[in-house]
């Protein structure tokens, strides 16, 4: 009897199925290929099966697009009207660390994959209030710990939002329809403002207003700032204390290398310093964290915010130690290790936190 037309040797159907589906590992592939090579009949079976195993893709579903037209109609009915505001955002950047969470709950732009540079167009969808006929084109963008976001407003102004910060747009016109340009900030952001002397750009924090006179400047108003700090990289900014419903009291004009501070505690003072090295205040916008003789008590909250990692000091005396260091792409653990090494401290873990002792 001709061995070529002997009955084919059996092969486990699940194995052959894995092979044809592309799920087989190297060892499995080798086993199947030995079986195929064992006889012409085996080869013929696999060739025929291969043709049948690749099912054609689903035919075009709903070719008349009935479903989409209904969806679009339903969506538009639920929305108050055309978006008055268009914001283009670059991919927000995260510090390298294992992703523990998935997606934020608040209506905010979440982190995209590191390295994916993408323009995401976010259109204002209006507030719930709009359903009552009150048009409120305000829009809010927020970052969480460990997130940084660069965005471009409709007028061309570039904003880099630091972690744990929130920016609220009340009015931002676009180049063709300029209007007043007002934003509210909690936290920290760097603004590179397209100058328009007829329509000044104003950043409002809880206790201050910084008004652009054609500039690049950083506004900081975190809880630990105890007020509002403005550092000007270029151009001119007018900084004044603001009270709800009132006009600013004291005001100061800041230029390149100036730092202005509106204190948060009474008595309210507006002060400024000149000849400040702007670098450490803007380094974060380029992904670097810079500390220059900064006491650890100020370093710790910054690290917590930037890495979303819990770092603690074991002894209160450590809070006064001064750190001079710049971090670029280190992970939280690497940064903490570097701090420990440079200050002669030990780094340990307690629960989910890192502890410097």
């Amino acid at each position: 009897m001709d061995p070529e037309i002997a009955a084919p040797q059996p092969i486990d159907p699940s194995l052959l199925a894995r092979y044809l589906s592309g799920e087989a590992d190297r060892e499995e592939r080798a086993r199947v290929e030995r079986w195929i090579a064992a006889s012409a009949e085996n080869r013929a079976i696999v060739d025929a099966m291969r043709a049948l195993w690749d099912r054609p893709p689903s035919p075009e579903f709903d070719p008349d697009d009935v479903v989409w037209r209904r969806l679009k109609a339903d969506i538009t009915a639920a929305r108050p009207g055309p978006a008055p505001l268009a914001v283009t955002a670059d991919a927000p950047e995260r510090r390298a660390r294992p992703i523990r969470r998935t997606w934020p709950v608040a209506a905010a732009l979440a982190a995209l994959a590191v390295g994916a540079s993408l323009a995401v167009r976010v259109k204002n969808s209006g507030w719930e209030l709009s359903a009552l006929g009150i048009r409120s084109p305000a829009r809010e963008i927020a970052t969480r710990r460990g997130e940084r976001l660069t965005l471009r407003l409709a007028d061309g102004t570039r904003v880099v939002l630091a972690p744990e910060s929130r920016l609220r747009f009340t009015e931002v016109g676009d180049r063709r329809h300029p209007g007043a340009r007002e934003v509210e900030l909690d936290g920290e952001a760097m603004f590179t403002v397209t100058h328009d002397s007829i329509h000044p750009f104003r950043v409002h924090t809880a206790n201050a207003t910084a008004e652009d006179l054609g500039t690049e400047f950083v506004v900081t108003s975190y809880p630990e700032t105890h007020g509002t700090r403005v550092v000007v990289a270029s151009g001119k900014v007018e900084l004044r204390h603001s009270v709800p419903g009132g006009t600013g009291l004291a005001a100061v004009t800041l230029q390149h290398g100036d730092l202005g501070l509106v204190s948060g505690e009474r008595p309210v003072t507006v002060s400024s310093a000149h000849g400040v090295d702007v670098g450490p205040y803007t380094a974060w916008t380029n992904g670097a964290l810079a500390f220059d003789g900064t006491p650890l008590r100020e370093v710790i909250p910054v690290l917590r915010r930037w890495y979303d990692a819990d770092i603690q000091l074991a002894r209160p005396e450590l809070a006064a130690m001064k750190l001079t260091a710049t971090f670029h792409d280190e992970s939280a653990a690497q940064a903490a290790t570097l701090i420990a090494m440079s200050l002669g401290l030990q780094l340990g873990r307690r629960g989910g936190s890192m502890v410097l002792r």
Partner: protein, 207 residues
């Protein structure tokens, strides 16, 4: 007798964009959460054929599938601000579509009619586009195809669903396990059954 079978078709690429799928999907979720209708439409268009085909297979009806797909995406849009797909977008959408399809079935009580209808649809050529006149080789291929389709439709329900998800919708075994909430071992076993059934069909056809 043997047929001169043409080469297998290239698998359809469901990805419409230039980005790797995972990055594209994450970008869509982000944008949709923020209310971006263009991203919502892009996502719908990228997935509608595979999701629609799958649901249509589950329900045996094009109209029912359109309704389920519409409701799925409408609900997604309505709840977009809280939308947190826990894993990959495609398995999330398939699972959601599957759940909706089954609750539609329960609601409509068409299960018995479903099995009947599938056979009728196949005979009437409704489930797949009618073949156009073709040269001999391709005609023989289509006859075999039809025989294979009938064989697939005679598979036990879960086996058939597993097979369709892997071979028509091109989900991986792991993804199918996620969508159907079964173990990968079960997926393997079902695929083995499907292969054995198709082999038998092929052998019969060749005689």
């Amino acid at each position: 007798m043997t047929a001169n079978l043409p080469l297998p078709r290239e698998p359809q690429d469901h990805d419409g964009g230039g980005l790797p799928t995972a990055a594209r999907d994450r970008a869509w979720v982000t944008a949709i959460r923020a209310g971006d209708v263009a991203a919502f439409e892009a996502m719908y268009r990228a997935y509608k054929n595979s999701l629609g085909g799958y649901v249509q297979h589950l329900l045996g009806s094009r109209e029912a599938a359109e309704e389920v797909i519409h409701d799925l995406f409408m609900k997604l849009w309505e709840q977009r601000e809280l939308w947190e797909p826990p894993a990959a977008l495609n398995t999330y959408l398939f699972r959601a579509a599957r759940n909706r399809a089954f609750s539609y079935l329960r609601h409509q009580r068409v299960e018995a009619r479903f099995r009947e209808r599938i056979t009728k649809d196949i005979d009437a050529g409704e489930s797949w586009p009618a073949p156009s006149p073709t040269p001999d080789d391709t005609l023989r291929y289509r006859e075999l195809e039809d025989a294979v389709e009938r064989a697939i439709d005679r598979l036990p329900t879960r086996c058939r669903e597993v097979f369709r998800l892997t071979r028509t919708q091109r989900l991986s075994y792991a993804e199918v396990a996620q969508v159907m909430q079964i173990s990968v071992k079960t997926v393997e076993m079902q695929m083995g059954r499907a292969l054995a059934a198709l082999r038998r069909q092929l052998a019969e056809w060749r005689e």
